[in-house]
């Protein structure tokens, strides 16, 4: 299986190393050709405004949406969650607008308010270390979104079908449980697309 990591800016190296540590192939996605033959896509932490400008300038928005329509699993961390969201509080326009959540940017405060905490995550486990850096949170979710973790009453991790999005940075820790959870989503998608192509 091959996982792409959007590599326009941000915590790309960390995601690639973590994916490789689980024995999977990981590739940087900078241009259109890098999107071919992927089984899943990670949208890393970084600055969402900067990443958005670069997505626009290199015409990557529509190709990523098209992969999403084919069912490709996508995992957004922090800025990546903001890119996935269908709505952003105080912004007229969303970015990729794929996952049915409303996110609020910088909602825990500025950098001096950034923090680490341990989370209890449904379906995954307890004591998951989470690093929140100028983090967003999920203000509200649509009907088919499963809330997987909250911190102080705020939603910080959710799943909607093929999409997984979190406010924090699992890639900055040694705990790969959340990534493994995503890899299972990728594996399921891979198996079902194989089954589909065989039945044709």
């Amino acid at each position: 299986m091959k996982i792409g990591v959007l590599a326009l800016q941000g915590a790309v190296r960390e995601h690639i190393q973590q994916i490789q540590s689980l024995g999977c192939e990981a590739v940087e996605v900078k241009t259109l050709v890098d999107l071919t033959d992927l089984n899943g896509l990670v949208l890393p932490g970084g600055e969402s405004t900067a990443i958005r400008k670069l997505l626009d300038r290199h015409q990557l928005m529509e190709p990523i949406r098209s992969l999403a329509r084919q069912g490709m699993p996508m995992f957004g961390t922090c800025a990546g969650l903001i890119l996935l969201a269908k709505e952003i509080v105080d912004y007229e326009e969303a970015h990729l607008s794929l996952m049915n959540v409303v996110v609020e940017r910088n909602s825990f405060g500025r950098q001096v308010d950034s923090f680490e905490a341990k989370l209890e995550v449904k379906q995954i486990g307890a004591d998951i270390p989470a690093v929140f850096i100028r983090a967003p949170h999920i203000a509200s979710v649509g009907p088919n979104v499963e809330i997987l973790a909250e911190y102080n009453g705020r939603i910080v991790l959710a799943k909607e079908g093929q999409y997984l999005g979190c406010s924090f940075h699992p890639e900055l820790t040694d705990d790969t449980r959340l990534l493994k959870f995503f890899m299972e989503m990728v594996e399921d998608f891979h198996q079902s697309s194989l089954a589909n192509s065989n039945s044709i």
Partner: protein, 294 residues
């Protein structure tokens, strides 16, 4: 339990800036131009380095009003500079909620012997370096991010090239050394031994290292990425150019796609004049900002 200002939170913030461009700005309008161009952060200043050179005298922390104005204008992180060793300027910027403090040789040092104990603060710090000894001393004091010093405000990339090459060559040397050689290397470099052990284990510096001090064109930014910088600071290079919007945008793109030479050719077309540069050899010793810091 909630842990604030941990090493991971402070270094992690810099990790999120990788592959990006941090731009010097002096007001809200410039900050908005920087954000719209795709900057990952802005550095709020009273004057850009080339104007600090021209003005002469003592360069201090910016008027908090300017920093506040910039913080209110953009949603990306805002950095600000404090003088080397100036505990109170740093505490004031921290109290204002600045996202990163640059303990900077661009300002006139407040202490000619000691740098700030940066591990004491909740806010993270970035510091300049010219070699691995200096880089490691700053990390030892708690810097969460490094940048080359280059020679600020000159629009001349030569010093930044010298510094990034030197740091990276020294890192490679440490990584290739036997463990029993590290203590002597620590003594030679003036670097904390434990950090050299960590560098050898990781195969790289434990914090992000950006390029700074002389970046004036998209090709300069791409060159620094090619030489192994994690990202780029542009000081005077944007708002002292003929067309700041275009320069800002082009430098952002060149930093991300630093190996796409055709793209760099395209975005460099008809950009207008970059900032006027200064040949380093014409600077007096007292005008070389990179000599500040110990």
């Amino acid at each position: 339990m909630k842990l604030l200002g941990t090493e991971r939170v402070k270094r992690g913030m810099a990790e999120m800036q990788k592959g990006g461009v941090i731009m010097d700005v002096i007001n809200a309008e410039q900050a908005k131009i920087a954000e719209a161009s795709g900057a990952v952060a802005v550095m709020a200043l009273e004057r850009v380095p080339s104007d600090i050179r021209k003005a002469g005298g003592v360069a201090r922390m910016a008027d908090p009003r300017i920093v506040e104005e910039v913080m209110n204008a953009v949603s990306i992180p805002v950095m600000a500079k404090a003088r080397i060793g100036h505990i109170v300027e740093a505490r004031v910027l921290e109290a204002m909620g600045v996202d990163y403090i640059d303990e900077s040789e661009v300002l006139t040092p407040a202490d000619e012997e000691y740098h700030l104990l940066k591990s004491d603060y909740t806010v993270p710090f970035v510091c300049g370096c010219r070699d691995l000894g200096e880089a490691a001393r700053r990390i030892g004091e708690g810097a969460s991010m490094l940048r080359t010093k280059g020679e600020p405000g000159t629009g001349n990339i030569v010093e930044a090239v010298r510094h990034i090459r030197k740091v990276n060559a020294q890192v490679r040397r440490v990584v290739g050394m036997n463990e029993d050689e590290l203590m002597t290397e620590a003594k030679i470099l003036g670097a904390p031994y434990e950090l050299l052990v960590e560098i050898k284990r990781l195969g790289r510096l434990p914090v992000v290292n950006f390029a700074a001090g002389g970046v004036a064109t998209p090709a300069d930014a791409a060159l620094m990425m090619e030489l192994g910088a994690d990202g780029v600071f542009v000081g005077s290079g944007i708002f002292k150019s003929e067309n700041p919007e275009k320069f800002a945008r082009a430098i952002v793109e060149a930093t991300t796609h630093f190996k796409d030479y055709q793209l760099i050719a395209d975005i460099s077309k008809e950009l207008g004049s970059p900032m006027k540069g200064i040949e380093i050899s014409t600077l007096l010793d007292s005008e070389r900002m990179q000599e500040r810091g110990w």
